[in-house]
């Protein structure tokens, strides 16, 4: 069953390349060889999105002010929309969502426990770092999917704005309480290792570790650079 989904579809070359196609082609160079089959891609990514909902609503619950609760409720809605779009792809492939998400639950829940902060600010920072990094990663990983599914998966993961509102919650909080910055910077640095391991766990590695690493390294370098930019925008040292 799964092997059917590993079958490569012939690519139809478009007569011209739009900027988006060019970007997609560049990404395909990176992770296509290590990308999981559609069932693994979608099952893992949808299961992760359930933990993102939990992470954001825990932070929402612990946030003392209405403005922050409201912002976190709205981004929970964004993550839910992405989750529903991923499940819609699972169903379009006539796969059983329970069957394909269940094998990933333990892994993503353990990841969620390891990255759950103690204070609500740490919890928001965790959401910012882990959802940001893993969404960037999964969009790159989509390069290995059949073309149509790839486009729909990338669109699913691009639904709504999450980065902006979460950034603004943290920005307000740091401005109101500047000593928080150094604690959050340490906390966010602490998160990167677990987040990278979670991303790696989705890759299909081969018998040639040196070759695999040569594919993985440039992508992770890019993802860490994006993470660093995310921290810089908050005035935090990555």
């Amino acid at each position: 069953m799964a092997s059917w989904f590993r079958r490569r579809r012939p690519r139809v070359e478009a007569p011209t390349l739009t900027p988006r196609d060019t970007a997609a082609a560049a990404l395909r160079v990176d992770l296509a060889d290590l990308a999981p089959a559609p069932d693994l891609f979608l099952g893992h990514c949808a299961a992760l999105h359930l933990t993102f909902v939990e992470q954001l609503t825990t932070a929402m619950s612990n946030a003392p002010r209405v403005a922050d609760k409201d912002a976190l409720a709205r981004v929970t809605g964004v993550v839910l929309t992405r989750y529903l779009a991923l499940v819609a792809e699972i169903e379009r492939l006539q796969l059983d969502k329970s069957d394909i998400m269940a094998p990933h639950l333990d892994g993503v829940e353990e990841f969620e426990r390891r990255t759950q902060g103690n204070s609500w600010q740490e919890q928001v920072a965790s959401a910012h770092v882990t959802i940001g990094f893993l969404t960037d990663f999964w969009i790159r990983l989509a390069a290995g999917l059949p073309a149509e599914l790839r486009d729909r998966a990338v669109a699913a993961l691009g639904n709504g704005d999450l980065d902006g509102p979460v950034h603004r919650v943290l920005e307000r909080e740091i401005a109101a309480n500047p000593p928080l910055a150094s604690r959050l910077a340490l906390w966010c640095r602490r998160l990167v290792g677990d987040t990278m391991l979670q991303a790696r766990s989705a890759l299909v590695l081969h018998d040639d570790p040196a070759r695999d690493e040569s594919k993985i390294e440039p992508v992770f370098t890019e993802l860490v650079a994006e993470h660093t930019r995310r921290m810089d925008r908050l005035g935090l040292t990555a």
Copy 2:
């Protein structure tokens, strides 16, 4: 400021009554005299919806199976949609959502703590009982709002289906584990008192307690009857 919203708007009589208008008119007889001003109605109801999101995602997080997590994620989406529609009404009235929700946070969070179950099944049952009862109540309470706002508030609270999916989660769980029924029946009975107190806390009482009670009692009798039907459908003694 608040007094502005207490001002009664003249009602425009429609030439004919649709069944919906008749129902609304019947309800207006019940709670209109005890209904809070729009700012209190919307602030309290929106704050409650944030705790509904927390309640449902806690249950989702603790539910072991994907099918239940998925169902609870979807009803979280329903509650979020209702929340956003309520906040849209707050903003339409040019009120500050933080100012009008903040005074209700402590009360609704204390209510959430008191009605939070220990097991995930109790947590789902809590959501079923408390969200079901309080949504029915707030729809009746809307009878006291100016006509246009009333219609929009009732529409906001009617977005999506919450009762059906939550019922089915509990139904499956009780079928798989019949001894659970008596524990859940006790737990749900335990919830009704706190839920009725939460509802009462939204009423504006007057100097004539006997008159107030004569208005409240028939409404609460109806709401408890609806609660009993909800329990009956699950085979639980209310």
